[in-house]
Symmetry: C2
Subunit: 277 residues, 2 copies
């Protein structure tokens, strides 16, 4: 078992999970972190459950070589498709982004009408609905797949009339349902938060799973006696970043959203790791 000073493993299909990494850096500044972004095979949101499970297993095998003490699946699609399998196969604590967000959404809704936006794979999985029912059995959950939003966020059109128009079209169905709470069920979406806020309106509470999962991680580490006992200080020593492709591009995107500048991103061949359970 890795000790409490070991790093936390965080992974995503690419850069979206950096919104989760950013929250972990803010809320748990003493923790070390190893981040992996699967930039050679992104996006996951349009792919099948079995393929996402295979990819996730390979990444977990890689993170194990880094002796992580816990794993955060910082990707809604991978959480929806693979969290249960990974939890069953691993002795380490593993958490995803769905459960914490569902718990918060279930407690803040007043009219029990909750919307979820995410990738096609996340919405089709029904995992948010399943999780919400655990926390609020009266909740009615309305999902809407928004496949274009990841591309718009990666294009950098964050505050843009075209992005507003796309969000308006995607949210129309949910607005007919009179939702009072909206879960941003893809780790890219916090980058479009102000657009969502503008289109959804003042009366809809936005829930950001990136924020909530960092809170859950803190509770988990405390409960398991795994909180880091010493702060090594410099970000460059505390955080390690790995990708499966295009390290430079990842680096410049990361530097635009993280609170400090990444010095090094290393590329690895993720296909070499075992994909079978």
């Amino acid at each position: 078992m890795a000790g409490s000073n070991a790093p936390i493993g965080v992974f995503d299909s690419g850069v979206g999970g950096l919104t989760v990494a950013r929250e972990i850096m803010r809320q748990l500044p003493e923790e070390r972190m190893v981040y992996f972004g699967d930039t050679a095979r992104l996006p996951y949101g349009t792919k099948s459950k079995n393929t996402v499970i295979r990819f996730s297993r390979q990444i977990v095998r890689f993170l194990e070589t880094k002796h992580v003490k816990a794993i955060v699946i910082a990707c809604n699609t991978a959480t929806a498709c693979a969290l249960e399998e990974i939890q069953m196969e691993l002795a380490l604590p593993v958490i995803g982004v769905i459960d914490a967000a569902a718990r918060v959404a279930g407690s803040v809704t007043e009219n029990y009408r909750i919307g979820v936006v995410g990738t096609t794979a996340t919405i089709e999985s029904g995992m948010y609905e399943k999780a919400l029912r655990r926390y609020n059995e009266k909740a009615k959950v309305y999902g809407k797949a928004c496949p274009l939003l990841v591309s718009l966020a990666e294009e950098g059109w964050l505050h843009d009339t075209i992005t507003e128009e796309v969000v308006r079209r995607y949210l129309k169905d949910l607005q007919y349902k009179s939702i009072d709470t909206l879960i941003l069920g893809c780790t890219h979406y916090p980058l479009l938060r102000s657009t969502f806020h503008k289109i959804a309106g003042e009366d809809v509470t936005l829930v950001n799973p990136a924020y909530e999962v960092a809170m859950e991680l803190r509770e988990l580490l405390t409960r398991e006696g795994l909180s880091c006992g010493e702060d090594v200080g410099r970000a460059g020593e505390k955080y390690e970043f790995f990708v499966s492709d295009a390290a430079e591009k990842f680096c410049s995107f990361a530097n635009s959203i993280l609170p400090y500048d990444i010095e090094q991103v290393r590329q690895i061949d993720i296909e070499k790791f075992e994909a079978d359970g």
Copy 2:
């Protein structure tokens, strides 16, 4: 060496190459075809050259097991990044989508100002510019990466005000250059042809590489004595489709754009094939 009744191998990162497959079916109706779409790892257009070469090599290894007589790289990104390597490594004839389109564009332009739209990887490769210079040394080539258009085409928003607005924004730079010819340098873009035509205007000639590469393939097969001598007739026996993920989704997209209904799409594990040159 495979005989003249062997199939042609055609590959793409996903469904975009079906616009090429469609042209081959129309222009060379007697030929057999094995199509592979790398749906587990799509899109290629945002990935690095080395990764696209690795993926392409694995696909070529797979097509070799099908005893194809020639290979068409039905993907602009893979052509831009990997055609030269694959041609050097293989005894079979291999063609891509760039050369034929460049030849046609070089011959139809009257003011020598040619625009190219495509993925980031295709545009950054400069391969269209290089090819155009071969056919028309006076040509000035203006490239524009349009990363959102693949997602818009896959979302099915083919005739849509949002898509028009996105195309208008991407084409603005090229219009300032007074181009009279525009190459649709991504195999998804023929699906958006009417939108490109509307925004670019009557005075701009659109060049569709999918059409041109089917013409080039016919010439190549004739020249090499590889044209199919017998038409087996039924499409279900002539064409085979393989993908690395989500066969059903591929099938329904294919059936919306091909001239006949696909009966079977088989999923294979492409990562098992050798990626080294």
